[in-house]
Amino acid sequence: MDSHASHTAEIDKHVRTYILVFATLLALTMITVAVSYLHLEIREAIAVALLIATIKASLVALFFMHLISERQVILLILALTGVFAIALLLLPMITNLDHITIGPH
């Protein structure tokens, strides 16, 4: 196989993956909405909604943003960002645990 044909085959493979990911994302969107009508307990509802959102976000990042085949330096930048982003999201929880300023109630 010449290099042009192998390049085209590679792109075709990418396109098939994109369509598969697209169908999965649509299905997961419908599942998220359907689950919201089940009126689960709020903790369960948050867990399910965030789990599905995380799966969808991972699919977008891995396949549409090509992170699955990206260089290590990009993954390192993102890992560092992830650490700081998690710290940022945990700050409110630390605030809620501060019983000195909130009081015993």
């Binding site: 697209f22 998220t32 909405v33 909604a49 977008v60 990042a61 549409f64 260089r71 929880m93």
Partner: protein, 197 residues
């Protein structure tokens, strides 16, 4: 003389073009920007005595439609890039044009949604929920507009790029796509936390 080095060929030390590193660093800063608003949402929600269920105030069917629109636009974006890789300018224009049109469609649906809130006098000062809803969706909407402008530029400037440097166009469309997918990714989290919980 090349003003910015390593825009088409990879830098030997990173193995990537400077544009690629640049867009990922920018997206990292965007994660922190939206992260601050998500953290604010957590503070407001956990400290509120009462917090409304999103679906009691917001329009879930319209938001679901907008989710489908944005996901579809992400697919057309990658298809535009794939078409460019195949050297198929016609399909590139079709897919990138669709991406811009879907972005426009998203904004029109959002405008209907905002208009309904204004009609019912649900303004940012009404409640913390409405305030954080307008701030987060408004900031996201600004990103949609930014992405549409960039994509529209690459739609119309493509012939000129192809005459001079095809590789440069491919790299820049990929980077523009990374931003567009990030906008989609943010919406994937905004949709459940604002509308469904």
């Amino acid at each position: 003389m090349e003003l910015i080095p390593y825009i088409t060929e990879a830098r030997p030390d990173t193995g990537l073009t400077n544009g690629k590193i640049g867009i990922w660093c920018f997206l990292a800063s965007e994660v922190m920007l939206f992260g601050a608003f998500f953290a604010s949402y957590i503070v407001l929600r956990t400290s509120a005595v009462e917090w409304p269920h999103g679906s009691s105030i917001l329009n879930v069917p319209l938001a679901t439609l907008n989710t489908v629109v944005l996901i579809t636009s992400s697919v057309t974006m990658v298809m535009a890039w794939a078409s460019l890789m195949r050297n198929d300018l016609g399909k590139y224009r079709l897919f990138l044009g669709s991406t811009v049109a879907l972005g426009f469609c998203f904004l029109i649906i959002k405008t209907f949604e905002y208009y309904a809130k204004f009609e019912h006098h649900l303004l940012p000062h009404t409640s913390n929920f409405i305030a954080i809803y307008f701030i987060m969706t408004g900031l996201h909407g600004l990103h949609v507009i930014g992405g549409m402008i960039t994509n529209a530029y690459f739609l119309f400037a493509a012939p000129s790029y192809l005459e001079h440097d095809r590789e440069l166009l491919i790299n820049r469309v990929e980077n523009s796509g990374l931003f567009w997918h990030f906008v989609d990714l943010v919406w994937i989290f905004l949709f459940p936390i604002l509308y469904l919980l």
